[in-house]
Symmetry: C2
DNA sequence: AAAATAATGTAACCCTTGTTACACAAATTA
DNA sequence: TAATTTGTGTAACAAGGGTTACATTATTTT
């Protein structure tokens, strides 16, 4: 494990901290689609992402959902951070977008390291900063963009975090994550295809530009 | 100043920290409507809110805006926190919703206090947590609610932070903050009035329920 | 191979929201 | 007080996106 830890976090943390992480952290692999956190869960460990991508979703009372953002390697979950510290329930849902590798840190260490390591504090603060900015991006999309623009942006993000640049989702799945209906997505996808932006296939989509 | 500091932050911070804040912080009063931060600004001090309310807005490239949330007494601005630490530009706009009193902390102290005071770290973490949750609330509203529901929620928040419980805004101003048009707001306000939820006047609105 | 299931394409329709236009009333200024 | 500006009410229409319904094609199961 130490090697993957060094590769991804070596430039962020001093050696003492890396060694501590190596000692108390547990390595974990999750398959694509694995549900890592549900709304209402109490979180008892903090993940450091080594590889893969995790999608973070919001859900309303009717079960309608909305994609907020993706976590990628080098990221951690700011929501988890606060949940751990405050002992509050999770407000979001986390699902592995691809197969992913992570190091899980027991929450007791967080307070200790925050006092001890400047690099840890900076990491936590920067993590919050990134997450807040991603939330702003999400707000920009739903507040200021029309559905076709949102869709194109969504497809680009999906392609970025996927292994091979293709989007392996059905129209229905896309509709759920954008909180709209399958018919609307099919309609707009066809429009984007006619514009030469994408190529549609059964179960997957490729970007052309 | 020490009294107002104690009243609002005494239960959060230990005495040593309160004394330090008292020494290095500068007291500031701003009138309603005062523009405290614009998008792109570099922020050089962190505010601790003593009284009044600050509204935090997002703006897109066309100058369209959207109300994100209000800061009230006991709050600080998480965005500012990260801007200070990371030396990055502000992503949001902050305007005094009411007359407000604040204590401004020079940013150099933040790193120092984060190492020194557990209560400061907790305050900062909790502040991030609150802001993330408020962003989620905002996302819920724009993603899952219809405009009439958003409007009613907006009116309730406005009334909460105002001195006397009335909403002193024109329909045009409300339209800007919800990122819609004046005609839509007038239409929905009239509907809410007919439902007995509110009473309309020129330049202000009162809630009935 | 036949039947069932899953994914997509598309038409027709409706509702919410956005737009344009204009009337009228209240407040401010000349 | 007359003229102008500001705020509100409302009608008529347009556009985006949500809904229902059904056809077609690909894939999986029997």
């Amino acid at each position: 494990m130490i090697q993957e830890l060094k590769d991804n976090y070596g430039h962020l943390f001093e050696n003492d901290l890396l060694n501590e992480i190596n000692q108390v952290g547990t390595f974990k692999e999750v398959p694509e689609g694995f549900k890592m956190i549900s709304i209402g869960d109490y979180v008892k460990a903090m993940p450091l992402l080594i590889s893969g991508a995790i999608k973070i979703l919001r859900e309303d009372n009717d079960g309608d959902e909305l994609l907020l953002y993706f976590l990628e390697k080098g990221d951690t979950c700011a929501m988890t951070l606060t949940c751990c510290l405050g002992q509050t329930k999770s407000e979001i849902k986390a699902i592995a977008e691809t197969d992913a590798k992570l190091i899980m840190i027991p929450i007791q260490k967080m307070e200790e390291w925050s006092a001890k390591y400047k690099s840890w504090r900076n990491f936590v603060f920067e993590s919050y900063h990134n997450r807040l900015n991603e939330m702003l991006e999400t707000i920009d999309s739903i507040a200021f963009l029309k559905m076709d623009e949102r869709l194109l942006k969504y497809l680009n993000e999906k392609a970025r975090v996927s292994e091979d640049g293709t989007i392996r989702n059905t129209h229905q799945e896309i509709a759920y994550e954008l909180h709209t209906s399958r018919v609307v997505i099919s309609r707009l996808l066809k429009k984007l295809e006619n514009l030469g932006e994408i190529k549609l296939h059964r179960n997957y989509i490729t970007l052309l530009k």
